[in-house]
């Protein structure tokens, strides 16, 4: 007499697999993708507002950095792919209903937009290779002579950035298999978070690139993108933009959680995973407190001039932005119906 016990409920790993297919690579890809999307949007806005380079500013490195970071992100995605040689097939077809297909094409199209934006702001001098620089400057002048083209580049950057930023969230949102990701807010959340990380990177760049004579806080920030965002006043700063992005981000996280909590049991369980469950320690401490609340408080005091300006708040923003993706990817795979 043989007794065989068959597990027929959800403890059977074949029925309800714990998906751990996505690790840090996807989080890195989403983080860098969001960062590039944010810098595209800020860059596009900059192109529309003022297509000319201002003396001594470090902004023009933004688009080039975007190219580099996006390539890194795609590299991480490529590492994650199971069938690395099949990657070419994504470009042999276009599937209007597949977010993966959309993503592949968006990624391909934002490269020229970023390179064109970079072309608008050629550096004044480079350590070597002055002859190629002269040619680049000539092309740049050729583009500048055509205002319609400049406008087009600005719009392409804005549109490409919005598409890429939304896509990083929508990619997860369309995977209905995971209740945590089953929310329309994920797209805007990742877009705004990407813009805050992009503002933080430009902020860092402007600080690293600032030379000794720019000792005032306002000048430091004005050497960045901000000068164009708000040309005439010396008061406005990148910090302010980063502040507003982070405030919107906090509100979106709140909306996302409220949306999940007022939905089905599975959605509530998914939200609880972040709010009080297995991912709560990381979510609250790394994302909410370290990545959002702490930089908001610190930048507020920097902005009103009470405290010294340091690189720490933008570093905290980047830290929080990465862990937001890491935790959403990880916790999403832990949530199930």
């Amino acid at each position: 007499m043989t007794v065989l016990e068959l597990t027929s409920n959800r403890h059977n790993p074949g029925i309800d697999p714990l998906l751990n297919a996505w690790g840090w690579e996807i989080a890195v890809y989403l983080f860098l993708g969001g960062l590039v999307a944010g810098s595209l949007i800020l860059g596009g806005y900059r192109v529309l507002k003022s297509p000319r380079r201002q003396a001594g500013e470090s902004y023009p490195w933004g688009p080039l950095l975007g190219v580099l970071l996006l390539s890194l992100g795609m590299g991480a995605l490529f590492l994650d792919l199971g069938h690395k040689l099949s990657v070419g097939r994504l470009y042999l077809t276009f599937q209007p209903t597949s977010p993966m297909s959309w993503g592949a094409w968006i990624l391909l199209l934002v490269y020229p937009a970023m390179l064109a934006a970079a072309l608008l702001y050629p550096p004044e001098r480079v350590p070597f290779g002055n002859a190629p620089l002269a040619r680049v400057r000539a092309w740049s002048e050729w583009v500048h002579a055509r205002p319609r083209l400049v406008q087009g580049i600005g719009i392409a950057n804005l549109a490409g950035g919005a598409a890429l930023g939304l896509y990083t969230g929508v990619l997860l949102g369309t995977l209905g298999a995971r209740p945590l990701w089953n929310s329309a807010i994920l797209g805007p959340l990742f877009l705004i978070s990407g813009m805050s990380t992009a503002a933080a990177v430009l902020h860092l760049l402007s600080m690293v690139g600032a030379n000794a004579k720019q000792d005032s806080f306002g000048d430091l920030l004005l050497s960045g993108l901000v000068r164009l965002l708000n040309k005439d006043t010396g008061k406005s700063s990148m910090v302010r933009y980063d502040q507003s992005f982070m405030t919107i981000e906090l509100a979106l996280i709140g909306l996302w959680m409220i949306g999940l909590l007022t939905s089905t049991t599975a959605h509530r369980a998914a939200a609880a995973l972040l709010l009080s469950g297995a991912w709560a320690p990381q979510f609250w401490s790394l994302v909410v407190l370290t990545g959002l609340v702490a930089p908001l408080v610190l930048q507020h005091f920097e902005f009103i001039g009470r405290i010294r300006h340091t690189v720490i708040p933008p570093l905290l923003v980047l830290f929080g932005g990465f862990f937001l993706r890491f935790i959403v990817v990880g916790a999403g795979q832990g949530s199930h119906w």
């Binding site: 043989t2 007794v3 009080s276 469950g277 991912w279 709560a280 320690p281 609250w284 401490s285």
Partner: protein
């Protein structure tokens, strides 16, 4: 509402880490505000230049002490559930001495080094590396340290408990002592040339400053505490005697050794196993996963009141007493092992096998033998059956000394045609001790 919130099940393990982070932020913030992010300021304590360490540390101690006393006294906090690091006089003193030496040489203590590293002190970052390396080195030296570190341990011991002086009186004495120490420290600062800010000073100031306001408040609360009695909770739980009686009569809270054995093998045991016997008996043998807890340490050792607990003692008598004790302390989910450890030995480790009259009985015998072997015991065979040679695969050792606990290797594996229960594996390691929550510093 009952505190500690965590032990009353208000939130779980995961949320407790969020609480840890939030409390840590407050702790780090106030340490930095007090100047504990600077090694020079910390070390100045030991040259009588700046007594900030003493002031911050003892103000913290008396604030929390008076707070704990009053929150417990009014019945909000259950003081017996607050974890106390066990007292080991020799180890406490030797360790304290080393810590003091390390403090002045290194410039920080572990908590302040984190704050100092956060505020950019490179020496604090190096200190942290030294400490992590040291922690690794302690690990390798631990086997030779362990003996004397754990020697003459007193277990959880408080000053009021050891001295017999009422808790509140000691609270008042400590507050008075701290204020005297602060005044003396400020006098020392003045003498050694360190400058005491008048606004912050307790020494030589004749008007009521904010600092004096704080200390007069603490003093007042402490003096009333001296007269207000014990902070420990009395029997505050309302017990339904009839319900207790019914539970006892029906045996609804009894778990039989056989049931427990099955659950342990299947990995479905949800009880926390508490062994109430002496440490010697526990070390000799115990149910896998059980923790050895003395009766007095019982409420504090339990993690949360809502956790299911299974108590056992040698014959069940002490477990029954502990059962009533815990019920009276407000632990609803307490059960006892029917028959105690004696019952476990009798029914699981060395059961008397049924006569293998037919196939069903034979399978049952094999099952019991396999369970006994799983837990490192040996089944006893009825003499008649043994004489008839009807129980294949039993080693002579098990027959000669039937009640003796034999190692599983002495027992032959059951015949392969038996499919239930699972084949005996090595006795399960007491995994509960690994998963046990660490609460010390």
């Amino acid at each position: 509402m009952n505190a500690p919130f965590f032990k009353y099940g208000l939130f779980g393990d995961d949320t407790s880490l969020v609480v840890a982070f939030a409390i840590g932020i407050a702790f780090g913030f106030f340490l930095e505000r007090g100047g504990f992010g600077s090694g020079r300021k910390l070390a100045a304590q030991f040259y009588f230049k700046d007594m900030a360490v003493l002031k911050v540390m003892f103000t913290g101690i008396i604030t929390a002490m008076v707070g704990v006393y009053w929150l417990s006294r009014v019945g909000f906090l259950d003081l017996s559930l607050v974890y106390l690091v066990p007292t080991r006089p020799l180890a406490n003193m030797v360790g304290g001495l080393l810590l003091g030496i390390g403090f002045v040489i290194g410039g920080y203590c572990p908590g302040t080094s984190v704050v100092a590293a956060a505020t950019g002190r490179i020496d604090a970052m190096v200190y942290l590396m030294g400490m992590v390396s040291g922690m690794g080195a302690v690990g390798f030296a631990w086997p030779s340290l362990e003996g004397w570190v754990n020697a003459n341990a007193l277990g959880p011991a408080t000053l009021p408990g050891l001295s017999g002086i009422p808790y509140g009186v000691i609270v008042a004495l400590v507050v008075v002592m701290a204020i005297v120490a602060f005044v003396a420290a400020e006098w020392g600062e003045v003498k050694s040339g360190g400058r005491a800010l008048a606004e912050q000073s307790l020494f030589g100031v004749h008007k009521l400053t904010r600092t004096w306001g704080l200390f007069l408040g603490l003093l007042g609360l402490a003096f009333v505490a001296a007269l207000a009695g014990s902070p420990y909770r009395g029997p505050r739980v309302t017990l339904d005697g009839n319900a207790l009686g019914r539970t006892a009569a029906t045996g609804a809270d009894h778990v039989s050794p056989a049931t427990l054995a099955d659950r342990l093998i299947a990995g479905t045991n949800e009880y926390r196993l508490i062994d109430l016997r002496s440490p010697e008996a526990y070390l000799k043998d115990h149910i896998p996963g059980a923790e050895n807890v003395s009766m007095t340490a019982l409420p504090a050792a339990l993690w949360t009141p809502t956790e299911p607990v299974l108590l056992y003692s040698e014959d069940g008598e002490r477990a029954a007493q502990a059962w009533l004790y815990l019920k009276a302390r407000g632990f609803p989910r307490v059960s006892t092992l029917a028959g105690g450890y004696a019952g476990w030995r009798e029914q699981v480790l060395s059961p008397t096998l049924p006569e293998p009259k037919d196939e069903v009985a034979r399978l049952e015998a094999e099952r019991e033998r396999a369970i006994a072997a799983h837990f490192g015991g040996a089944a006893r065979i009825p003499l008649a059956a043994a004489a008839l040679g009807l129980t294949p695969g039993v080693s002579p050792a098990a027959q000669v000394a039937p009640t003796q606990v034999a190692s599983p290797r002495q027992i032959a594996t059951p015949p392969p045609q038996v499919v239930t229960p699972p084949a005996p594996v090595a006795p399960a390691a007491p995994s509960a001790s690994g998963a046990k929550k660490k609460e010390g510093c």
